[in-house]
């Protein structure tokens, strides 16, 4: 059997100022998984994602990417892409140039890079705005560009930190459907952070419910992968049931976070 995409064992993070961002966390992400992290604000979701992206170094524990270490991330079959809460585009560059950025940094030749950037933009339905500038696009379109910039590297793991938090409900639902297609049809392994329970219920094959102070995994919840994630599912009783069960877990996690805080006070 091949090694998992991600494997975290006892990963901890204590910040230099003494704040305990994460107490030991174990997490395994297999190929094709859509894992969602959900939990109250400050429970360490972003911290966990940044640790995985090697933007933070863990204070303890073991972490491996495709069974290896971070040095090999970026090679073929081990590509990782990150989508932030904000689109995080370069305002001075055209959409095409923004999407091409990761390829440019890898020194992929211009013609190939342009072709792949256009293909990535077409995948998110934005093939017609390549020569526009970010300031000319709406928030939802910018977020799509950000996703295209992640897809252009043909990632084997996509990390997303509350990518649609700033968008309206309608736009968010459309983008969620696109994300579901990318994962369940194209097989893109995704680790997703959200505040929104409905988003977690709609997208995930597994939900990790986190609690705060210190950040930890409180519970996990599996969702049938074979469900078709479409508009019909969103209106189904099955979806309502999943949402309810997740709500209970989340309520539990929040209560525990509060108790921990009171005990400390």
């Amino acid at each position: 059997m091949s090694s998992p995409v991600l494997s975290l064992a006892g990963i901890e993070k204590v910040f230099p100022n003494g704040v305990r961002g994460l107490s030991p966390v174990d997490l395994t992400v297999e190929k094709g998984d859509f894992v969602t992290l959900i939990g109250p604000s400050g429970c360490g979701k972003s911290t966990l994602l940044k640790l995985i992206a090697n933007l933070h170094t863990p204070s303890g524990g073991k972490m491996s990417w495709w069974g290896g270490n971070f040095g090999d991330v970026g090679r073929k079959g081990r590509r990782m892409a990150f989508v932030f809460q904000d689109a995080t585009l370069m305002p001075w560059a055209t959409i095409a140039k923004n999407v091409r950025l990761p390829l440019d940094l890898e020194k992929v030749d211009r013609a190939t890079a342009d072709k792949r950037a256009l293909a990535a933009l077409e995948r998110v339905g934005l093939g017609h705005v390549t020569e526009h500038y970010p300031a000319q696009l709406s928030g939802g379109m910018k977020m799509r560009v950000s996703i295209a910039r992640a897809l252009v590297t043909e990632p084997d793991l996509l990390l997303m930190d509350e990518p649609f938090g700033a968008l309206d409900e309608f736009t968010r639902n459309r983008l969620d459907e696109e994300m579901a297609r990318l994962c369940y049809e194209d097989g893109l392994t995704t680790l997703f952070v959200t505040h929104a329970l409905h988003e977690a219920a709609f997208l995930s094959s597994r939900v990790m419910v986190m609690a705060a102070r210190p950040g930890r995994i409180h519970a996990q919840y599996e969702i049938d992968r074979s469900i078709l994630r479409n508009e019909e599912f969103r209106l189904s009783d099955q979806f309502a049931g999943i949402s309810r069960e997740l709500a209970i877990l989340l309520e539990d996690a929040s209560r525990e976070s509060m108790i921990q805080q009171e005990m400390r006070a």
């Binding site: 940044k50 933007l55 970026g74 990150f82 370069m90 001075w92 940094l105 890898e106 500038y133 300031a135």
Partner: protein, 254 residues
């Protein structure tokens, strides 16, 4: 209806014309002698009479202004890049940058003029010294104003130092730099004129400040005003040029 742009141009121009009219009227009605307060028409006559000499002087001042601006921009950007390299370098150098800034140019100008024998060069140095500080501080702040998420993105994609500099830091610094450039443009002109005043250079390589000094000695007040008028026009043109350059450079960002 008038567009707001036309209005914002028309309103101050109308006010200017009214003020000029009142000024002219007061001078004529009370027969105020031109050595106390010349009327606008007297100033205009002086400008027409001595236009060639004044324009020549303006050109000399502008040459110094541009040379100083270029020196300030090149020097300021280099210093900013140096400062941003390491906190240690910044700690060591920053106090001197500040000392340079807080010392009034009028006080150091005589020293510079004695040290540098070539007068135009000395004047340029003085003006550049006045203009360099906003370039340094704005470029420095600009180089630091990188979006932290974008910086994380570059780091995650294992971008080299050079790639991060050319694709992230420099473009991120551009808005602050352009604002600094705009301030520096105005200051170069101020610096050039202040330095000319201190140097008091005569001969045919004398700038507008010297023309003002000389007109003062000769009690030729209309000519003084005419020179002042030219400086103001030059300042306005420089300001507008710098502002449109700034707008052009940042046209895609909102």
């Amino acid at each position: 209806m008038m567009s707001s742009r036309t209005f914002s141009l028309l309103a101050p121009v109308t006010l200017g014309i009214i003020i000029l009219g009142i000024w002219e009227g007061i001078c004529r009605f009370w027969h105020i002698p031109p050595y106390l307060m010349p009327s606008p028409s007297a100033i205009w006559r002086a400008l027409m009479l001595d236009g060639v000499a004044l324009l020549h002087a303006l050109l000399i001042t502008l040459e110094i202004t541009f040379a100083a601006l270029i020196a300030a921009v090149v020097g300021g950007v280099l210093v900013a890049f140096l400062l941003v390299q390491s906190p240690l370098i910044e700690r060591c150098l920053m106090p001197y940058v500040v000392i340079m800034q807080v010392t009034p140019i009028v006080a150091i100008a005589p020293l510079i003029i004695i040290l540098i024998h070539n007068t135009p060069l000395a004047l340029t140095a003085c003006a550049a010294l006045v203009a360099i500080f906003p370039v340094i501080s704005n470029t420095l702040q600009g180089l630091r104003s990188v979006d932290p998420d974008l910086a994380a993105y570059f780091q995650m994609h294992k971008a080299s130092r050079l790639q991060t500099l050319s694709r992230l830091r420099i473009p991120s610094a551009l808005p602050m730099f352009m604002a600094g450039l705009r301030i520096a443009t105005g200051l170069s002109l101020v610096g050039a004129i202040v330095a000319e005043f201190v140097a008091g250079t005569g001969g045919n390589s004398a700038g507008l400040a010297y023309q003002i000094l000389q007109s003062g000695f000769q009690m030729d007040i209309p000519r003084m005003f005419a020179a002042l008028f030219l400086i103001t026009v030059a300042g306005l043109v420089l300001y507008a040029a710098a502002a449109s350059l700034q707008r052009f450079a940042l046209r895609h960002r909102s």
